[in-house]
């Protein structure tokens, strides 16, 4: 009888594997943590979108919890998440934009049309800062604490539910 039960072993193995793979089906491969989590915001020295002569560096992100949003005029989801970003700014959260792989003209036009929740926009036409941040598409949003350390990373569109369920609690946590 004991030997008979042993014959069921392959079936049990198969069922375990099937369960494991079934769980995998529900995972979203685009939801993964940024490699920069808990690391310093990468060093940069770039002009601002608004004033070509004004240069900003990492000191911009020190002293206050900041949401850094990577956007571009060419990115449809960036337009859709603007109302959420505007409401975050209205709630007193400091926002800094990175105008990613864009032209000055189009970037400024975008802000005119969809509103500007950002204290300042870093102009990154070649995507150099984006590369250092591991940005692979826009929009992407980073939460930087008062010491300039990256604490949270959101890839893709921010929905009103995301604001309520993740962004605001994260901001509160590091405030």
């Amino acid at each position: 009888m004991k030997r008979r039960l042993l014959l069921l072993l392959p079936l049990v193995g198969f069922l375990l594997l099937a369960l494991f793979f079934y769980r995998g089906l529900a995972l979203d491969p685009s939801h993964r943590d940024s490699a920069l989590m808990a690391r310093d915001f990468p060093a940069f020295d770039l002009a601002t979108l608004e004033e070509p002569e004004r240069r900003v560096d990492t000191s911009l992100l020190e002293g206050e919890v900041t949401l850094v949003n990577v956007w571009g005029e060419w990115c449809p989801a960036c337009k859709q998440e603007m109302p959420q970003l505007l409401s975050l700014a209205e709630q007193g959260i400091r926002m800094v934009g990175i105008n990613y792989r864009d032209t000055r003209e189009k970037g400024l036009q975008f802000l005119d049309e969809f509103g500007n929740p950002f204290e300042v926009n870093i102009f990154d036409p070649e995507g150099d800062l984006g590369f250092e941040l591991g940005v692979y598409g826009a929009p992407e949003t980073f939460l930087v604490d008062r010491d300039g350390v990256i604490r949270y990373h959101h890839t893709g569109y921010i929905s009103p539910a995301d604001v309520r369920d993740t962004i605001l609690p994260e901001v509160e946590k590091w405030q």
Partner: protein
């Protein structure tokens, strides 16, 4: 002559189809730039590196096969770092620091991945062990002589009279 005409038409159509096919493959390759290398070793390293990194955006393409802007940026960075004389391991580290372990088609051997790399080896060894055990038990069974009680019972069974 009348017989040949249709064939000519067919040949022309085939030639045109081939040209169209050729054009479309050119159009598809247009997203990926061509890089010239003086050193064939460097070229091979470039190919190996860009072939072994996953595009973070497209998820199922290597960066040497993807026309996503981020893949072009990553190829450019690999190229620049190669020209800069960096070692392969440094270049891979450089990318992983920015885009995460996710981009490696071959995950590194570390605490998190022992199970991943170890399972195939463990299963192969378990299979070999199973085969050895089965062969051995079968050989033992064949070699074992019957005990006097077993022989008596066997004889009884063989000589048993059929019920009428």
């Amino acid at each position: 002559m009348a017989m040949i005409r249709p064939f000519l038409g067919l040949a022309t159509a085939l030639a045109m189809a081939l040209m169209l096919l050729g054009n479309s493959s050119v159009a598809m390759a247009a997203g990926i730039e061509i890089r010239e290398f003086d050193d064939p070793v460097m070229e091979q390293r470039y190919r190996d590196l860009t072939g072994s990194m996953r595009c973070p955006l497209c998820e199922n393409q290597a960066i040497d096969d993807s026309d996503a802007p981020i893949s072009a940026d990553m190829r450019q960075r690999v190229y620049v770092l190669l020209q800069d004389g960096r070692a392969d391991i440094e270049i891979v580290d450089h990318m992983v620091q920015r885009f995460g372990e996710y981009i490696l088609y071959n995950p590194r051997l570390e605490n998190r991945t022992y199970l991943l790399w170890g399972t195939p080896i463990a299963l192969t060894l378990a299979g070999l062990l199973l085969v050895v055990l089965m062969v051995r038990s079968r050989r033992n069974a064949a070699a074992r002589a019957l005990s006097p009680e077993e022989r008596a019972r066997l004889n009884d069974l063989i000589n048993r009279k059929r019920p009428k």
